[in-house]
């Protein structure tokens, strides 16, 4: 017997869609309910369990970087750092969330230290912002170009050592997760990138929180008889779960999951980038529109992705030569300084300033042009993330298998060739496979940025949302075309060649 469903009246259809939306909102996917993964993450020592392998790899990278082959493509420190780690990090953020911070090896060392050393100071109030990590992030990008970090196992190893030292010194002196929240440049990269992730650590049922009297998710739990003994940490980044919005500043440490006595915190699905589309009061952060520093982070994140890729294609040498000739410069640092200033400071100031001015004048948005620029700066994050994905994903996929011969070589170098002779012909996926992925990432980023800009424009101007959107949509398209141009330029990369 066959039958057909009678057509629904428009009102009934609307009701049905509304119910479906409500159901989807009420029933998000929760990673903690997935077999094997869920119980593993709920386990109190899950983070340590995930950190130990990365810590071990970090130590191997330091030793190999300092004592191993000087040729970068043959050294574990450089191959793992500049090919696999960066690629895996952005892909994990795209597919899940901030998994690197979850398994951060530096925090394992810090937690171990804090068993004996208890910090006494609080981070100075005037430094409780993102300006220091933004400066460190730019410094890292600058050093990468100036010193050719990709080509130096020795420098790469010292960066890892420096990271460990900085974590131990800062979190040895200052309470809570000071390093993560106010210093770590990789952390800030992860925070802003994970605003576009599909998963977030969030409350399952807000009504349960309304009736909660202990607030363990932020306070943690201490021994009743000895209040100095911490049984379970609460959120060290000052994110109070019921008022937490999105992934900004969330390290996925899962302390709140373990602390909640009502089992009311999950790792829930959401629309990627949703947190950029509105401007609520956020626990531990405030409103995005009042955080110039986080807006600057979003700008550096986006334009830094262009600069980082620009440093790896042929036209950069033409520009550098032109600058040297025109300004009679000899110093490579000075030339790079000018380039960085132009791309990361001057260019965004002009472009965002112009877009903000047009929005104000044309769409009648009442805010000042600076406030408008700050508000819409967040819309650039998805596009920036698309560019980081395209760039790091390229190196990751095209160099995917290089870890095999490099590991074989590392064992052979220590006189224990248990993995056989290095298979140097193993490289990675062909460019014909990887290049479509690159453009897919860029398109995904553009779509995300346009969507965020559109939603912000709708909120800003009920009367002229299109007028408010057009300048920012145009800016996103221009930046997208810049990304495409960069990805189609001949690479002026560094490679190795064997002749035998």
């Amino acid at each position: 017997m066959t039958g057909t469903t009678p057509p629904l009246s428009p009102a009934t259809e609307q009701d049905r869609l509304g119910e479906e939306e409500e159901f989807l909102e009420a029933q998000p996917f929760d990673l903690l309910t997935v077999p094997v993964i869920g119980p593993l993450l709920r386990w109190r020592h899950s983070r340590t369990f995930l950190q130990i392998p990365l810590f071990a790899v970090s130590i191997v990278m330091i030793v190999e970087g300092l004592l191993g082959p000087t040729l970068s493509p043959k050294n574990l420190a450089t191959v793992l750092t500049w090919v696999h780690f960066r690629g895996a990090l952005v892909l994990a953020i795209l597919c899940a969330g901030n998994l690197f911070c979850l398994s951060c090896p530096f925090m394992l060392a810090r937690n171990f230290m804090r068993k004996w050393i208890h910090p006494r100071f609080t981070w100075p109030r005037r430094l409780r912002n993102k300006w220091i990590p933004i400066a460190l992030f730019v410094a890292l990008l600058f050093s990468y170009e100036l010193f050719g970090l990709w080509a130096s196992p020795w420098l790469t190893a010292w960066i890892i050592v420096g990271y460990f030292a900085a974590v131990l010194i800062i979190d040895g002196l200052f309470t809570h997760a000071t390093f993560c929240k106010y210093v770590c440049p990789i952390g800030q990269f992860n925070f802003i990138a994970s605003t576009t992730s599909p998963l977030e650590v969030a409350v399952r049922d807000h009504e349960v929180c309304d009736g909660c009297g202990t607030k363990d998710c932020i306070r943690g739990r201490r021994e009743t008889s000895s209040p100095l003994v911490v049984l379970q940490r609460g959120c060290e980044l000052a994110l109070f779960q019921p008022a937490k919005v999105g992934n900004m500043d969330c390290t996925f440490c899962l302390d709140c999951v373990h602390a909640c006595p009502h089992d009311n915190v999950g790792i829930l699905s959401r629309l990627p980038g949703a947190e950029l589309m509105s401007d609520p009061q956020r626990s531990g952060i405030g409103r995005f529109s009042r955080r110039n520093d986080i807006a600057a982070l979003a700008i550096v994140f986006c334009f830094g992705s262009l600069m980082n890729a620009f440093g790896m294609v042929s036209p950069v040498y033409t520009v550098e030569d032109w600058l040297k000739r025109s300004l009679h410069l000899q110093s490579q640092a000075a030339v790079l300084g000018i380039l960085f200033t132009a791309v990361i400071v001057v260019e965004p100031a002009l472009l965002l300033g112009l877009a903000a001015w047009i929005t104000r004048a044309w769409a009648g948005v009442r805010s000042g042009w600076l406030a408008i620029g700050i508000r819409y700066a967040y819309a650039l994050s998805p596009l920036g993330f698309g560019m980081w994905l395209a760039h790091y994903g390229y190196h990751f996929f095209t160099g995917l298998y290089t870890i095999v011969p490099v590991t074989q070589n590392a064992f052979a170098e220590i006189g224990w060739p248990i993995l056989g002779d290095p298979h140097w012909t193993l490289v990675g996926l062909p460019k014909t496979v990887v290049e479509p992925l690159e453009f897919g990432f860029l398109l995904l980023g553009l779509a995300g940025s346009l969507l965020v800009a559109w939603r912000l424009a709708q909120d800003d101007s009920e009367k002229y949302p299109v007028r408010a959107f057009v300048p920012w949509g145009a800016l996103c398209v221009v930046l997208f075309l810049c990304c495409v141009w960069l990805m189609t330029q001949p690479m002026d990369m560094r490679a190795t060649m064997g002749a035998g």
């Binding site: 493509p73 090919v83 490289v427 990675g428």
Partner: protein, 59 residues
Amino acid sequence: MDHPGMAPVFSDAVEVSPGKYQAPLNFTMGGDWVVLFHITLSDGRRVERQIGVKGVESN
């Protein structure tokens, strides 16, 4: 200076005259290259040498 993860290029050298060897190499992209020589001497000993080739321009 070279970037890890990039495709290496391999080539066998042939003796063109006593003590003189020649190998065709195709630099597949611009940048700084490193040429690694894996040499087996007549007495069976193995020698490795490397030469940097900086500033190869893109086509």
